[in-house]
């Protein structure tokens, strides 16, 4: 029923499309200000070491070097979570991963800054490094953070229902260990920050700070800058220019963002720091390597009786979003299917590697791979079609799940129906040529977290709207456009609500001086929350215009319709629309306040003479309203309702969302049985986004999610050796190219959420998680091997095939069965390092065979 809208539901080019296609749009690294200097960061070469001394003298003396900042220049800790303030912008006493930040040189050119980095002498005392989370958990001494015993950042133990009884009642139980290796966002734009202080006119000293940064969270950045620089927030302005992709990698404060400000303060000049691609990999905050021990029981009829999951995440050296990540991995076992009994044991573990954080599908993706694979296995064990077993476990919405998640709109049944139908599942499954197969899997995601990471009652999004006499609408939103289309969504909602054309709308976004607080673009919250705030702000302004228009048309404000730049009287159907005197009176009194002053204008005179009109243009109505009320402004805000905020148990804050998106996917793959190479031919992806506000964007988000999931499934993996990242570049970290990227058929399902703006929910993350298990299940369908470790590289697939055939077994994967990985190799991924690690520290205790990392236990 899109015809009831003129803008919503219509494919719309992004409002910033021309800036992007002409190259005129400015990203942070495209900016320069007069007198700007270049900052370069010195990184730790050691995974774990104490800093005994830093000597910057030689560097400072190099011609062209303006300043060298070190930890002592801002010895304050910060972190994105209030419980995780464990990072210094520049290391104070210890470095905790290869790439940790030690000092920052400010110079007149990049080349000079790079040369100066070579002149800084740092005296390190090397400590044992921890690279494997299960080993790290045994640590007794030389802890990564002194107050984190056993190097465990956080552990949670949740029991809902009676999992033991559930498993006892099951007809079939599957139990296995799954491992997902580490992946990263690899957004095309490397992080960049430009920081500049103004001289305060009153004190004559450096005053306000302006920071331009590639961030998804300008307000969190403002907050953390204030904390570390010990400046009031109102003295700091954060501006987000165009951002070249985030995917979660810019959803927290990244070291360079604070270092740039510290460096600018010390150099007394504007400083820009742009990461090299290698530094982007060190800044990381990607999806942690995860070990999942999963046990699921089902009845013969396919009903799931219980799930037990033990999840260990290799979190890297700092907390980052870690506590939230581990909680999501448990909480989102619920809300997809109806599971009566759940046990979750989650461990977020510290290791000497770059910190992991939030990445597209935060926390759910790896567990979803495990769960959907195991469900496929169980379906096969009880002889049920894999699509059918998913249908047997649907929720009955509206409902509240066993772990306290409220579900109000649930398009999963339709998603399953549509993918099954479009992919020809019934006709083709099991009948494809040798080596070719189909697999199905489902997933879901939150439309924003119902509880903000900063506990407070403030709205999560606020939007202001201003309309002037020219009929131009300016929407001020703190929401951060990062390529997902948030500015376009804002413009569409404002235009639809006000019944004006899209070209009237100008979106001013993500500038802390201009725009009201919005907590940022992460956890797929923007459409739902900033969209709702926009809807409310526009609704407020609309009331003012309606009152004025009603007056010129001599009708009740309730009875005017805004559409296509025209305001008309509602066509009377029955008696409901009859104007009621009381309401008319109250509306008149609202506008009557200022009538006396403004009725001088000739336009009013003219209107009076013309008498009541049948319709009025948007522009006329705006002028009339401004004449009555003065400038037209409106504010709308959104906070998730109390009912959506979840249960009371420890950690209950993570997982609840005002609404969940749903996805079902079928993947068609073929496997080369001689090489193990997997080709994904096509993915059918149905996604319940509530309502597709902009179908072209929604489809783009679905395709992009599926594609990124495919990357994690097949080619992407961060490979480590003794804390050294072996592939810190886009050449060796292989995100797929167009050649091997499959056709993705996006299928939009609209369940129309009761609380979403026009019924909309999230569409940018939920699809990712289903792709990995859909491909895994399709590989099983094609060649009969079940892979328990991602990515499904050709060597893993071939090793599995060889093992299955008991053919000439080749030691292709270091003797670890990829179908049943038993342990987490220190170097994770590619399994190909058999030699010793880097011989860089002869005295590094972690390198001595008789003193294993983590000590004895």
């Amino acid at each position: 029923m899109n015809s009831k809208f003129s803008i919503i539901g219509k494919p719309t080019a992004m409002v910033d499309a021309a800036e992007k296609t002409t190259g005129s749009g400015k990203y942070t690294d495209d900016l320069s200000v007069p007198g700007m200097l270049v900052g370069k960061i010195l990184h730790s070469p050691y995974p774990h070491a104490r800093i005994k001394a830093i000597d910057t003298n030689k560097a400072e003396k190099l011609d062209g070097v303006v300043a060298v900042a070190v930890g002592q220049d801002a010895p304050k800790t910060y972190g994105i979570l209030p419980v995780g303030h464990d990072e210094y912008p520049l290391a104070l006493d210890k470095v905790r991963y290869v790439g940790d930040n030690v000092a920052c040189v400010v110079a007149t050119s990049e080349a000079i800054a790079e040369r100066a980095l070579e002149l800084i002498d740092v005296d390190y005392e090397v400590l044992p490094g921890y690279f494997d989370p299960e080993e790290s958990m045994k640590a007794k001494s030389d802890l990564i953070h002194d107050h984190k015993l056993n190097n465990i950042e956080k552990d949670y133990h949740h029991v809902f229902g009676d999992p033991e009884r559930g498993l006892a009642e099951a007809d079939q139980v599957a139990e296995a260990r799954f491992i997902s290796n580490e992946v990263t966002h690899a957004a095309m734009e490397p992080h960049s920050t430009l920081a500049s202080f103004e001289i305060d006119p009153h004190t004559g000293k450096p005053g306000r700070l302006t920071v331009w940064s590639s961030t998804q969270v300008p307000y969190y950045l403002q907050h953390k800058l204030s904390l570390v620089l010990e400046m009031p927030m109102q003295q700091i302005r954060v501006i987000k220019p165009l951002v070249g992709g985030g995917f979660g990698g810019k959803s927290e404060v990244i070291p360079l963002e604070i270092i740039a400000a510290i460096a600018a303060r010390k150099a007394k000049a504007p400083v820009k720091i742009t990461y090299t691609r290698e530094e982007v990999f060190w800044a990381h905050r990607g999806r942690p390597r995860t070990i999942i021990d999963l046990k699921t029981g089902v009845k013969k009829d396919g009903r799931i009786t219980a799930v037990k999951a033990r999840v260990v995440q290799d979190g890297g050296a700092y907390c980052s979003y870690g506590v939230v990540t581990i909680l999501y991995s448990g909480a989102l076992l619920g809300a997809l299917y109806d599971i009566p009994n759940i046990q979750f044991d989650g461990y977020r573990v510290l290791t000497n590697k770059p910190a992991c954080g939030a990445m597209r599908g935060h926390g759910t993706v790896n567990v979803r791979f495990a769960f959907e694979s195991q469900l496929d296995e169980l379906a096969s064990a009880i002889g049920m079609d894999p699509a059918e077993i998913r249908r047997r476990n649907l929720l009955h919405s509206p409902c509240i799940t066993v772990n306290g998640l409220r579900v109000q709109s649930y398009g999963l049944p339709e998603c399953i129906e549509k993918t099954v139908e479009r992919s020809g599942w019934k006709e083709r499954k099991g009948k494809l040529a040798k080596g070719r197969g189909l697999g199905i899997a489902c997933s879901h995601y939150v439309s924003g977290a119902a509880n903000s990471i900063i506990r407070s009652d403030m709205p999560h999004s606020t939007v202001n709207i201003k309309i002037d006499r020219d009929g131009g609408v300016v929407v001020y939103t703190g929401a951060s456009e990062i390529g997902q289309g948030s500015d376009t969504m804002t413009a569409q909602i404002a235009a639809e609500t006000l019944g004006c054309s899209l070209s009237r709308i100008r979106v001013v976004a993500a500038d802390t001086d201009l725009t009201p607080i919005d907590i940022g673009s992460y956890s797929s919250r923007v459409t739902f929350m900033a969209g709702n705030a926009t809807l409310r702000a526009a609704g407020e302004v609309k009331k003012l215009i309606a009152a004025a228009a009603a007056k010129t048309m001599s009708c009740d404000p309730e009875d005017v319709v805004f559409r296509d730049d025209l305001i008309t009287k509602k066509v009377c159907v029955g008696t409901d629309a009859v104007v009621r005197p009381a309401e008319q009176g109250s509306a008149a009194s609202v506008s009557g306040r200022v009538e006396g002053q403004i009725l001088r204008g000739s336009l009013q005179q003219k209107r009076k003479e013309e008498g009541p009109k049948e319709s009025t243009t948007f522009e006329e109505a705006v002028v009339t309203a401004i004449d009555f009320h003065g400038a037209l402004t409106g504010t709308g805000s959104y906070a998730p309702p109390a009912e959506a905020r979840g249960g009371k148990h420890k950690g209950a804050g993570v997982g609840p969302s005002p609404a969940y998106s749903y996805s079902a996917q079928v993947a068609e793959v073929s496997v080369d049985e001689e090489t193990g190479e997997v080709t994904v031919h096509k993915v059918w992806a149905a996604h319940d986004c509530g309502r597709a506000l902009n179908p072209v964007s929604v489809e783009g988000q679905i395709i992009g999610s599926v594609w990124m999931g495919m990357g994690q499934a097949l080619t992407e993996e961060m490979v480590w050796k003794d804390g050294m990242l072996m592939n810190p570049g886009l050449l060796e970290y292989r995100s797929p190219s167009s050649v091997e990227s499959p056709e993705v058929e996006p299928i939009i399902v609209e369940s129309v959420d009761p609380e979403g703006p026009f019924g909309a929910k999230e569409c940018s993350e939920g699809s990712l998680a289903a792709t990995i298990p859909a491909i895994a299940n399709a590989i099983y369908d094609a060649v009969g091997v079940r892979l328990h470790e991602s990515p499904f590289t050709p060597e893993r697939v071939l090793a599995a095939l060889r093992a299955k055939k008991l053919a000439k077994t080749l030691n292709l994967t270091e003797g670890i069965d990829p179908t049943a990985p038993s342990r987490f190799r220190e170097h994770g991924g590619s399994l190909w390092f058999k030699g010793k690690g880097p011989e860089r520290h002869p005295l590094d205790p972690s390198r001595q065979a008789d003193a294993p990392a983590g000590g004895a236990d």
Binding site: G245, L730, L731
Partner: protein
Amino acid sequence: MKKELIELRVNGRAHELAIEPNALLLDVLRQQLQLTGSKRGCDDSSCGACTVLIDGVAMMSCTLLAASCEGQEVTTIEGVSEHGSLAAIQKAYGDWGGAQCGYCTPGFIMTVKSLLAENSNPSEADIRMALSSNLCRCTGYNQMYQAIGSAIKAEREGLAVAGSGGGKG
């Protein structure tokens, strides 16, 4: 380092520039000429975000010495718009979702320009192969194929209407 004076032709205009011999074309475009449309996405010549045309051939400006391009015609994304309006490929990228975050978009458009200059009617396989020089992290490439198809159509119809237009290079 001692600078040298070179003449660089960019988007049809000649610029006399004093550059260091080790200056990369990308840095000269972005920092000296303020043509920031070409982007840096990697340091190992793998991502293609810096793609420009050198005498009409797509090349990576992060991998070329600026001085080495003296005497050649450099075309950047800023030289693609026609008479202040979007070229068909630019319009199509916007309309069909070919650009999301937009960071890789200028590089892709230059690659597509170079493809279409050689082959005005590429198959989908040709397009996939050509686009495989550039990495995109948002779109999964699918909507780019639609955009390119639509741009080819628009270009053809435009030429038919204009009668004599002359193929764009």
